[in-house]
Every structure is written in C-alpha cells, then in structure tokens.
Amino acid sequence: MTSGRLALLSVVIAVGTVVAYALLLGVPSVRNHPEGYVAAFAIAATVAGLAVALRRRWYAWLALGLSLLLFAGGAYINFVLARIPAEPTVLRVGERPPDFTLTDASGRQVSLAEYRGKKPVVLVFYRGYW
C-alpha cells in the first residue's frame, strides 16, 4: 500500500471511531468498553506511522499527528479523567442499606423503607444534568 493510502486509512479509522462512538453511545457493549476507542486510535497511529516510514510526506505526518493527538486525548479521558476513585460504601450484597427519606418530583416525602415487604426496588444513583 502506498504512503498516501495508508495516511488516508489512518484518518478514516480515527475519524470513523469518533463518529461510530458518538452514534453507538446508547449500545451498552460499546459504551461500556471505552478502551475500544483508545485501541482504535492506537491502530490509526500505527497505520500513520507506517505511512511516514514509507514516505515522509506532509500528509503522512498530518495523519500521524491527528491520530496521536486523538490517542493521547482518548487515553487521558478514559484512564485519568473518567476514573472514579473507590471510596468505602455502605452497600454490600446480602445486607440491608440504611433507610433514607427524600422528596419526589411532586413534593412527597418518600422513604426507602416504604417498599419493604411490598416490592423489589432498583435503586439508581446518577449524576443528573449539570
């Protein structure tokens, strides 16, 4: 393969990864493997590296720069920024977590304990919209 084609392939892989990840964010198997996009950027960088090795043309360097930038950014997001340090939690399988009372959307006070003996509960803690 020529250097130009390798450079183009690298850009297609890099940009395609960004587009595919954005489009498929709702698919759990994609969303839950963010290391996948880091690996794809690494592949794009390797292909661009081959392009540079073949011919040191500006387009090969451009493809290498782009893919390395995406690789570094993606790795930073996934391995540093998105990491949540583990803190001790009161939740343990087989144990009953402490009761709480909070206000629902209609202003009613709701306790976790009021479901006890009535129905199972899926309790979700989420970050909300900032």
Partner: protein
C-alpha cells in the same frame, strides 16, 4: 421489561437534580420510576457514593451506582462504576431482578 415486571418493581432514581421534568417524562412513558432529589448529596454521601471533585469546577458529584433490593430491602445485586463512561447493562439489571 414486561408490563408485569414494570408493575412489580419500583425504580427509584436518586440524583442532585430537581426531578420534575424527569418524572413528567417517566409518567408520559407510563414507566414506574420515582425520581428523588438529593440536592445537597446528603443521602448519596451517607451511602459512600461520592465522586470527589468529579463535577465541573471541582464539585462533588454522585458515583453512578445501581442496586437491586429484594422485597425485604436486602441488596441482591450491585453495580458501582469506577469509570463514569461505564453504566450497567440494562440486561444485567433485568436478569438480577428476574432472579428475585
């Protein structure tokens, strides 16, 4: 989730948000969700589910977590996120609910 399961399980969603809008949406979809507001994160903090300085400007935000409690209020299944991009697969939650 089937209608019967929807009726048989309560989904309780806790976040720092004021949840009126989310609840309207859930009601519109006829989904049995209850959104609870924990604006100062006191309950979230007491559960140990805080991502310290994880929000914009270094504010504390919840650590995403999904907990399946049986009829007696005992934890039967638990998912704690250590990467905010990752959330439990709804299929796994459903399977945990079905084993109750």
């Amino acid at each position: 989730m089937s209608e019967a399961e929807r009726a048989g399980v309560e989904v309780v969603a806790v976040s720092p948000d004021r949840n009126e809008q989310s609840q309207r949406l859930a009601n519109g979809l006829h989904v049995n969700y209850r959104f609870l507001a924990d604006p100062d994160l006191s309950v979230t903090r007491s559960y140990g589910l805080i991502h310290r300085r994880g929000g914009p400007g270094g504010v504390d935000v919840p650590r995403p977590a999904t907990v399946v409690l049986d009829r007696d209020g005992v934890v039967r299944w638990l998912s704690l996120s250590d990467n905010y991009q990752i959330r439990p697969d709804p299929g796994d939650v459903l399977r945990a609910v079905r084993t109750l």
